[in-house]
């Protein structure tokens, strides 16, 4: 188990798959993965393509692990139902949930 900072965001594939429907394979594939740096993949002894569980104080999801161009200690998950299952509903009086910079634990499966 290891703790990371989670960031979420749009990707071209997620946008292109939106109008194919959120039940489509294209959308599930476009939003159902997490990117981790090569350094962290080696440090955790995990492999690209394997399943991992991401846990925050607000929810947990299982995703496919991919090597990505992110800094060590940071994870990226495309905008979608998986990313939103992890974020807090507390908006700190702004209306905006804390969608970026969230502490998240990774458990290899």
């Amino acid at each position: 188990m290891s703790e990371f900072i989670l960031i979420t965001g749009r990707t071209a594939k997620q946008g292109a798959a939106l109008s194919r429907g959120k039940d489509s394979t294209a959308y599930r594939q476009a939003t159902g993965f997490v990117e981790m740096s090569r350094e962290d993949i080696e440090r955790l002894g995990v492999e690209g393509g394997q399943r991992v569980r991401l846990c925050t104080a607000f929810g947990e999801v299982e995703l496919e692990l991919r090597e990505g161009d992110v800094p060590p200690g940071v994870l990226f998950v495309p905008l979608g139902p998986a990313a939103n299952a992890l974020i807090p509903a507390d908006t700190q009086g702004t209306g905006m949930p804390g969608s970026k910079g969230l502490a998240v634990e990774v458990k290899p499966l």
């Binding site: 900072i5 939106l18 990505g68 939103n84 974020i87 509903a89």
Partner: protein, 424 residues
């Protein structure tokens, strides 16, 4: 039949040069659009769909009756969404909220709501994308990735666009990207500043200090060398026309509206040296229109409540995530949006616990938990209307194919008339 100069309603770029080929009321080809826009046209629903109540198909009058009963019996109904429908329908949704004494909020609250709060604190300079295309020689993209999220922005309005004072296009502009990770956009930049997550406010404050000539007692801020920031400040001061485009990397990061207010203060201070402006990268096709329409109807841009018979505004109190997560909303009308897919779980779950009504062309995840589903035509494809580009310029959406479905505006009209009949 070829339809030219069609406006794509997918994102806030509202590209207005799309060419659509139509044969027998079917879209066969889409030219000039990005992948997301092309898919929007090619996958638009064209089959007739009946409304459903509790999963069973019903006629429109029965569906409207059930929807009106839900809304009029609720003590605190929520109307939410609005960003992928036309401003004509947004106006009807606001009229309905007024009639019901409801809370009304748009997807702005989970994208650039903090921007609006920041603007209310600091004020903002405005300009059009046309001015940027023709004049801007310094472009900063902060916490946004248009190469993936607004795919034709670079070509039509910013990085690659050739303008009257920027005839060389890309070579007449300096491009800076500030982000926490390398992206498709940062790979096209002259300068990439990789900030540590959560340090946007510190970085903006440092730029303001350097602009005022203050000496710093640190060598780096948020993972970026002060020398690089000093170089950026010099470029900002000496450019002819600069702009900072910003996205969720600024509004969703800790500090939220305070990050935006700091950015707007920097922009104001830069205008002592040169022309400098800023623009939020608006996501959905008419999310800027939701802000504009709510503002000219109620005086407030999002998170509005009519329970006292007049509009009240308070993000955190009347914003959708909050009223759902606190369990205050006891019925919901979701228009052209999918909060079950995009809200935190605690807020999304509430929508399956209360009677929810969905107006949408798609059977999205919210429709799958809704009590009443009202399938409507898709604005910009099978319905005409007005949408506001990210620079708040309104553009006419065309109807390129006929749809058997009514528009959001028509359905909202039916609901409003029925509510008036019930309360008469």
């Amino acid at each position: 039949m070829r339809v030219e100069n069609v406006v794509c309603s997918f994102c806030g770029c509202l590209c207005d040069d799309i060419v659509v080929e139509v044969e027998d009321n079917r879209i066969t080809e889409v030219k000039k659009a990005c992948t997301s826009g092309r898919n929007l046209f090619l996958n638009a629903p064209t089959q007739a769909a009946k409304p459903t109540v509790d999963g069973e198909e019903v006629d429109w009058p029965e569906a409207i009756d059930v929807a009106v009963r839900i809304l009029t019996e609720a003590a605190n109904p929520l109307i939410y969404g609005l960003s992928s429908t036309a401003s004509e329908a947004q106006r009807k949704a606001i009229a309905l909220a007024d009639l019901l004494g409801a809370t009304i909020d748009s997807t702005s609250s989970v994208c650039h709501g903090p921007t609006t709060i920041g603007v209310q604190i600091e004020g903002e300079p405005t300009c059009t994308l046309g001015e940027i295309k023709h004049r801007a020689d310094l472009l900063v993209f902060w916490g946004c990735n248009p190469a993936e999220a607004h795919q034709r922005h670079f070509a039509r309005y910013s990085v690659l666009a050739r303008g009257k004072l920027t005839p060389g296009g890309r070579k007449d502009r300096t491009v800076v990207v500030v982000d926490v990770r390398p992206t498709a956009s940062s790979r096209m930049a002259d300068i990439f500043l990789q900030v540590r997550p959560g340090y946007d406010f510190e970085l903006l404050s440092t730029l303001r200090a350097l602009l005022k000539g203050q000496e710093l007692d640190v060598d780096e801020v948020g993972g970026i060398e002060v020398a690089q920031l000093r170089d950026l400040v010099e470029r900002m001061k000496s450019c002819r026309f600069g702009v900072i485009f910003f996205g969720m990397g600024v509004t969703q990061t800790g500090g939220k509206h305070l990050n935006v207010a700091e950015l707007l203060t920097l922009i104001a201070e830069l205008n002592a040296h040169t022309r400098f402006t800023t623009m939020p990268m608006r996501g959905h096709g008419n999310v800027a229109g939701a802000d504009c329409t709510l503002t000219w109807q109620t005086g407030y841009p999002f998170a509005v409540n009519f329970a006292r018979g007049y509009p009240q505004y308070n993000p955190g109190e009347f914003s959708a995530v909050d009223v759902l997560a606190r369990g205050e909303a006891d019925a919901a009308l979701i228009i052209a949006s999918d909060p079950v897919a995009h809200f935190p779980r605690q807020a999304a779950q509430r929508l399956s616990q209360i009677p929810t009504i969905v107006l949408d062309p798609e059977m999205n995840l919210t429709a799958q938990v809704a009590r009443v589903v009202l399938p409507t035509a898709l604005y910009g494809v099978s319905a005409a209307g007005t949408a506001y580009r990210m620079d708040n310029v309104p553009l006419p959406l065309k109807k390129v194919v006929d749809s058997p479905q009514p528009t959001d505006e028509q359905v909202l009209d039916w609901i409003i008339e029925k509510v008036k009949t019930c309360s008469a």
